[in-house]
């Protein structure tokens, strides 16, 4: 969806969206003629709105939260891949990994 559709969907002013993009909270797809927003961006926008409108988080707070949320998801993605890779090992290897984790924990 384009900028206008995005703003209508979230019921926000274009100037608010401009701030979000400028802050780097949203990164629309700019490869085409006009910037495009994904469903993921809508969900992200809802999170930003809830924080600013309902939860009393200010601009600096949102900036911090979004940075950490992105780090968290990236870490979760990597962790997920790692778990899947471990899951594909044979029983003996998995057991060894488990034992090794036990020693570290």
């Amino acid at each position: 969806m384009n900028e206008l559709e995005f703003c209508l969907k979230l019921r926000i002013e274009a100037s608010v969206l401009a701030v979000w993009i400028e802050q780097g909270w949203l990164v629309p797809d700019t490869t085409g003629f006009e910037q495009q927003f994904r469903e993921a961006d809508v969900a992200r926008g809802q999170l930003i709105l809830e924080m600013t409108r309902d939860m009393g988080v200010n601009e600096a707070g949102v900036d911090l939260v979004m940075e950490l949320v992105d780090q968290l998801h990236s870490l979760r993605g990597t962790m997920h891949d790692l778990m899947a890779a471990i899951g594909q090992q044979d029983e003996e290897t998995r057991l060894k990994i488990l034992q090794s984790l036990d020693r570290h924990g």
Binding site: V19, E22, A43, E50, M55, H73, S74, L75, H80
Partner: protein, 305 residues
């Protein structure tokens, strides 16, 4: 599932609006699915909390609920997709991928560590493209009101730039993904543009406000007048009160610079009295006569002999 919004938020029936807000914020922090991505049941819980808050935070709805006229179902919210559903597969190359939290894993010389910090694919590293830096000069009003413009990159390709309303002199704009191309499927770099704002003929920026020196004639100053005043968004009519001095500042609310997240600063108009272009014998004659009886000393208090 409890259908009493007071129970859900854990507040007493006579709680103040402030108490309700505080209770909601506490629970929202704990249960918002996007702030607790690993907690699957949080979605139902958060929906319940926000439905209860939607009802109780609105004093009219709350009163109607207290009188038994409506129940929680009236405030039911449409099903929605949380960001975590899209982000659960955040991988390098995605727009929101951020590997800062495990960048240090790669310091050990271990192939498994490299998996975290570089994520080797097809035997080569994914590398983000380089960032590029430019500067541009924009007109005062374009910076205040926002504008679309184009810059030409050194290689000749034009690049559309949206100047956000309220841009300040010296501010840097970031155009994500418009920099050098990435390698191995890595994301493109960003373009950073330093913006220089040209001074305006008569507007001067002062934070979110704009200052303007406005010449008025002697008769307008003495008698008062309705005059046209330029603002960044077009001329408006301003009432100059009678007996207005030079230097008097009139404030036009909301005619200044748009603020981030809504609202605008003000336009501060400083009046400057201007005498007629040519000396007028009638005015001179009147002033001579008037000076005889006018005993005002505007410089008293300056310690002059």
């Amino acid at each position: 599932m409890s259908r009493d919004p007071y129970d859900i938020l854990g507040v007493k029936r006579d709680a103040t609006q402030k108490d309700i807000q505080r209770a909601f914020r506490k629970l929202a922090k704990k249960h918002h699915p996007d702030l607790n991505p690993g907690d699957r049941p949080s979605e139902d819980r958060f929906k319940e909390i926000s439905t209860a808050y939607e009802l109780l935070s609105d004093e009219q709805k709350r009163a109607r609920f207290d009188r038994g006229e409506i129940d929680m179902s009236g405030a039911e919210q449409a099903p929605r997709h949380y960001y975590r559903e899209y982000a659960s597969a955040s991988r390098p190359g995605g727009p929101y991928h951020n590997s800062a939290s495990f960048a240090d894993f790669g310091e050990a010389e271990d192939p498994l560590s490299a998996f975290f910090s570089h994520r080797v694919h097809d035997d080569h590293f994914r590398l983000a493209g380089e960032d590029r830096y430019f500067s541009m000069t924009v007109d005062f009003l374009d910076a205040v009101n926002g504008a679309k413009t184009q810059v030409r990159l050194p290689n000749g390709t034009p690049l559309d730039v949206q100047i956000p309303a309220g841009t300040q002199d010296g501010q840097t704009l970031r155009l994500p993904g418009k920099g050098g191309p990435g390698m191995g499927g890595g994301p493109a770099g960003d373009v950073f543009i330093d913006v220089h704002v040209k001074p305006h003929r008569f507007f001067q920026r002062d934070g979110d406000d704009i200052r303007l020196d406005l010449p008025i004639s002697l008769n307008e100053a003495v008698l008062g007048a309705k005059i046209r005043v330029p603002t960044p968004t077009g001329a408006v009519t301003l009432t100059v009160p009678s007996h207005s001095n030079s230097g008097k500042i009139l404030r036009l609310k909301g005619k200044g610079v748009p603020r981030r997240g809504g609202g605008r600063g003000d336009l501060l108009v400083t009046l400057k009295i201007v005498l007629p272009d040519k000396a007028d014998p009638r005015l001179t004659a009147f002033m001579k006569e008037w000076a005889e009886t006018n005993k005002q000393d505007p410089r008293k208090g300056m310690g002059l002999p």
